[in-house]
C-alpha cells in the first residue's frame, strides 16, 4: 500500500529522519528511477558543496622551460573557504568527490610553447591547450578536467609553462589568469 505524505497548508511537507541523520528515497525493485522534481520544477541543492573562483591580480614571471605555479590572490567566491589565496594558492576541499576544474593562463609577451596545467598533490595531472608554434601577444591556454579529491589531503593548483627562450610575464585579471571549480559528484 502506497504511503502518501500530505503537506500542511501552514508548514509544508516536513520529513523527520531518525537519529542516523540519513534520509533515503527508495524505488520499487526494478524501477530504479527517482525524478525530483517534475519536469517544470526547480530543485535546490545547497549545503556543503564547495565551489570557488579565483584569479591573479599581478603579473608573474614564468621562467623559460619551467612549470611555474600561478599565484591566484583574488577570490570571486569560495563557498567552503577551501582555497588558500595567500600562501600556497591551492584548492583543498573538505568534501570528498569529483570536481570539475577549469583554469586559464595568459602570457603578456609574444610567446610560443605555452600551456597551463592542473596539478594534483604537486604533480601534473592534466594539460590544457598547447601553443606549440604560435607566437602571439596574449596567448591564453585553458584547461578543464574532472578530478577526484579525497576531501582531506588532496589539493589542486594551476601551473603555467612557456618555452619561448626568455622569461616572460603573465597577464592578470579575472578574465586572463584564473582557476575555478565545483563539486559535481560526491564520493
Amino acid at each position: 500500500m502506497a504511503s502518501i505524505i500530505n503537506a500542511s497548508t501552514t508548514s509544508g511537507v516536513v520529513i523527520t529522519g531518525d537519529t542516523s541523520g540519513n534520509l533515503s528515497l527508495q524505488t520499487q525493485a526494478g524501477a530504479n528511477t527517482i525524478t525530483v522534481p517534475n519536469t517544470s520544477g526547480t530543485m535546490m541543492v545547497s549545503g556543503n558543496m564547495p565551489a570557488f573562483s579565483v584569479y591573479s591580480n599581478a603579473q608573474q614571471t614564468v621562467n623559460n622551460g619551467t612549470f611555474t605555479k600561478l599565484s591566484l590572490q583574488v577570490k570571486e567566491f569560495d563557498t567552503s573557504s577551501s582555497f588558500d589565496n595567500s600562501t600556497n594558492y591551492r584548492f583543498t576541499p573538505t568534501v570528498a568527490g569529483y570536481y570539475q576544474i577549469n583554469g586559464a593562463g595568459q602570457i603578456a609577451t609574444a610567446s610560443q610553447g605555452l600551456l597551463v596545467s592542473i596539478y594534483k598533490n604537486g604533480s601534473e595531472y592534466k594539460r590544457g591547450i598547447w601553443f606549440g608554434n604560435v607566437a602571439s601577444i596574449g596567448n591564453q591556454s585553458i584547461v578543464s578536467t574532472i578530478v577526484y579529491l579525497n576531501g582531506s589531503t588532496d589539493y589542486i593548483e594551476l601551473y603555467m609553462y612557456q618555452a619561448s627562450g626568455s622569461n616572460y610575464l603573465t597577464n592578470y585579471g579575472s578574465n586572463s589568469t584564473y582557476l575555478n571549480g565545483t563539486l559535481v559528484r560526491a564520493a
Binding site: N63, G65, T66, F67, K69, G122, Y159
Partner: protein, 50 residues
Amino acid sequence: MYEKLIKIYPELATFNFASGAITLQNDGAGDYIAKWEHPTLAKPTAEQLV
C-alpha cells in the same frame, strides 16, 4: 635553472622541456629539477648547478 642546464648541456637548448623527461618546476620558492629521466644525460649535481 634553465640557463644553468644549457651551460652544462648545450644540447638541451633544443630539448622540449614539456616532454616530461625533464621537468623544471617553480612552486614559489625558486626553480628546481622536479624530474630527470633523460635517456643519456646524467642529472647535474648540486655542485654543477651552483
